[in-house]
C-alpha cells in the first residue's frame, strides 16, 4: 500500500521547500506520493524542475491564488 505524505512549506522562502522535499522523499518508498504545499513563486519553479530531473512523476496544481501543490510520485 503506497502512502501519501503532505509537506507544509507555506511561508517558506525559496531553497527551504526544495530541501524539505528532498529530505522527505529520501525516506519514502517507490510508489509513494509526496504533496508539497508551497506559496513561494520561486519554489514553484525549482521544486518541480528538480523532481523531474530526478526522474519522478510530477504534477503541479494551483490550489488558490499564489498557492500551489506540487505532487511528486517517487519512481525510483
Amino acid at each position: 500500500m503506497s502512502k501519501e505524505v503532505e509537506l507544509d512549506c507555506l511561508g517558506e522562502a525559496c531553497p527551504v521547500p526544495l530541501i524539505k522535499a528532498e529530505k522527505a522523499l529520501e525516506g519514502m518508498d517507490v510508489g509513494d506520493v509526496l504533496i508539497c504545499q508551497i506559496d513561494h513563486s520561486c519554489a514553484m519553479k525549482n521544486v518541480p524542475e528538480w523532481a523531474r530531473e530526478q526522474g519522478h512523476n510530477v504534477e503541479v496544481e494551483e490550489v488558490d491564488d499564489g498557492e500551489w501543490e506540487v505532487i511528486i510520485e517517487k519512481v525510483k
Binding site: 522562502a13 506520493v33 506559496d39 513561494h40 520561486c42 525549482n46 530531473e53
Partner: protein, 236 residues
Amino acid sequence: MGDEQQAVQGEGGIKRSSRTRTRKKKKNQIPLGIMALVFIVAVGIILAWTVGGNVALFWMLGSSFGFILQRSRFCFTASMRDPYLTGSTSLTKAVLLAFAVTTIGFAAIKYGAFIKGLPIPGQSYVVPISLATVVGSFMFGIGMVIAGGCASGTLMRVGEGFGMQMLSLFFFIVGSLLGAAHFGWWKLNFIVRGPRIFLPDVFGWVGAVVLQLLTIALLWIAADKWAKRKSSSSSH
C-alpha cells in the same frame, strides 16, 4: 463527488487517496490585471505632465521590469544557488544571456558617445576592484540565499505578497541606510586602493566586447556541462 475524484487524479495520472481541502473557486484575475495596467499607464501620463518625461520613463521601465521578473521567475539568487543545490543551471544560463545582451547594449551606448566626442555615460560606475569586492560579494551571496532573494527578487516577492520577504525588505533598507552612512570610511580605507579598470582602455573597444562575450560564452558552456554532469550522477 465524481467530479472531485477526477480533479484529484489530474492529467498526469498520479493517484491521490486523500483530498484534505475542498477546492475554492478561483477568481478571474483578468479584470484586476486590466485595472492595474490602466492604473500604471495613468500614473505614467500624470508623471509625464507634472514631473517630466524622464520620471515617467523610469516608472514605465520599472513596472515592466517587475512584471517580466515575476512572470519569468527570473532570480539572480537561484542562478547562483541552484547549481550547487540541485545541479540546475537554467537560471544561471539565463543570467549569463542577459549579461551578454547588456554587454552589447552598453558597449553600443558608450561607444556611441565616445565617437561623437561626448563624455561616456556611466563611467562613475567603473569603480576600483580589490579583495574588498570579493569579500563583499561573498557576504552578499550568503545574505541573499538566507533572505530568499537579492534586491530585485525581494522587491518582486513583496509585490506578490510574500510575508517573510517584507521582513527581508525592511532589514534590506536598514542595512542599506547603515551602509550608505558609513560608505565614506569604507571607500577611503578599502575601496579606493584597488585599480580602476575600464576594459576598452586596455583592450580597445572591439577587444573588450569580444573578450567579455567570450568569457560569458565560456561560463555558459561550463554551466551547461555542470548541469549535465550533475544530472547523470544524481542517483542519490
